[in-house]
Point group: C2
Chain length 299, copies 2
């Protein structure tokens, strides 16, 4: 076995480091996407509001942190904050893992715990009207929408008359029944496969996983239809869910790259047109779900 085991198949840090070492006289390659992230100034990062951050601890030790999107789904987000603060999710569990699709959490059908203080039938907050001035379009084509791009660091799409958050890997939506107003945010899902963009504008997208995505995506797929777990022992319990703003000292703090910053533009360009020794043919393109804004712990 050649040494390519560890360096093989990927751009990024290792390859770039190797390339720099091996070819000191060669022209310096353009910075990699990761190098751009590492070098981004403080002004390129926006700290996520603690009141938009939920810390979810699971019985198997996993900690998952997610960010809410109140500007896009205010009633659903108000419900989530209320459900978190009233302890509704403490004792809920992972209900469903469907391969190449979603992980879903909440309380199973047989659980009669009441969700208190929420809007029981929220409006269908699937899109916002028009194209917000802060929408920054990507230049590449998309199968599903005339334009894709970002609003305040969220991946979005627009057709001019409306703009909506898109179902990329790690984005969070509100599960519902057949009628749109049945989604009260007591059950949430996140995307763990290729973006199921046909869900866009059909469900309320309310946030994204900020940390611990790998600890959701690596769970055993459920054996029932749609990946639901058959039995209660299969369902890993949620020990607690807390708003970061309620935790006080030691609360996690995360930042997202400002998608209006020069660093983000450079990152998108570098991801679209990979340089370095590995790539023989840059794509010169980037799908919206491969252009999700970098995240980091607040330094």
């Amino acid at each position: 076995m050649a040494a390519y085991g560890k360096a093989g198949l990927i751009s990024g840090l290792l390859i770039t480091a190797l390339a720099l070492t091996a070819a000191a006289e060669a022209p310096k390659p353009a910075p990699s996407p990761q190098e751009i992230v590492d070098a981004a100034p403080a002004s390129a990062w926006a700290t996520i509001k603690a009141d938009d951050l939920v810390v979810m601890k699971l019985a198997d030790g996993a900690e998952v942190i997610y960010q809410l999107a109140p500007d896009f789904a205010p009633v659903h987000v108000a419900n989530i904050r209320q459900l978190v603060r009233s302890g509704y999710f403490d004792g809920a569990s992972i209900l469903r893992v469907q391969d190449n699709y979603v992980v879903q959490w909440g309380r199973p059908d047989e659980d009669t715990t009441e969700a208190k203080g929420i809007t029981k039938t929220p409006p269908a907050e699937y899109e916002v009207a028009g194209t917000p001035k802060t929408f920054r379009a990507l230049p590449w084509r998309d199968a599903y929408a005339p334009k894709t791009g970002h609003i305040a660091s969220w991946p979005a799409a627009s057709d001019g008359s409306a703009t909506w958050l898109v179902h990329c890997y790690g984005m969070i939506g509100v599960a519902r029944g057949n009628t749109p107003d049945t989604g009260d945010a007591t059950q949430l899902y996140t995307i763990i496969g290729h973006a199921p963009r046909h869900l866009d504008r059909n469900l309320a997208v309310v946030g994204r996983i900020v940390s611990g995505m790998d600890l959701l995506a690596d769970r055993p797929r459920g054996g029932e239809a749609l990946g639901f777990y058959k039995t209660d022992p299969e369902r890993v319990k949620i020990v607690s869910a807390r708003m970061a703003s309620d935790i006080g000292a030691g609360a996690p703090s995360w930042q997202v790259m400002d998608t209006a910053s020069p660093a983000f533009d450079a990152w998108v360009k570098a991801r679209a047109s990979r340089s370095g020794a590995f790539f023989v043919r840059p794509a010169n393109a980037l799908d919206i779900c491969n252009a999700q804004a970098p995240l980091r712990k607040a330094p």
Copy 2:
């Protein structure tokens, strides 16, 4: 909790069944994608050649079956058949799981087992010339290529001068170092996240997972850079890899939907424009990686 736990968030069988029960007088909804698959005639299915099918058994009991694509990467596929038949993969292991990216298997760097009888430096079989007559284009836009579609049930893209298999969820490629001819097929990877289409035309795509994809995607992500496992005990061993054509009685047999069949056309249309009670706004579009041909065990 309302009954939407089990039915919530998804089209498909359950929802359709509910809709049919609830509204016997309403006009019958258009068939769902799954109903189209279930009703497809035998002529819509192509049996995968046993000499293109590899059965891989892992030490934890997982069985993964994958299909080779000799028409696109003949030298790499010849290498894989030879590696399988010479027992190279027996005792290899899962080396790497990187979230939203790849699972990679083979032998780790420190393993000096020789790969016998293979072409050590295969050509860069990343594309075929022109647009094969059998290429059937999808009508929707794509960020990465002028056209996407299918050739003999494989997801592909074309720019007229060349055509190539695309890195969709479950597709298999050959890992390599910085130089294209370092990919000898001793290490293979499959895609477990949103399609990393920037890899297209940069690596040899040699097949797809036919069965057991969930048993690769649900593995713990590795702790080293690029998702490599740090220690040997983390690496689940491959007990055996066999060509289905060498197994004899009891060998698995799989079929893929013929992408030139009317059933496939109907399935694509139904997936692009979901009907039924759940969807309030059909996408009327389908990304190539959401249009991967249905597979089934040979009846």
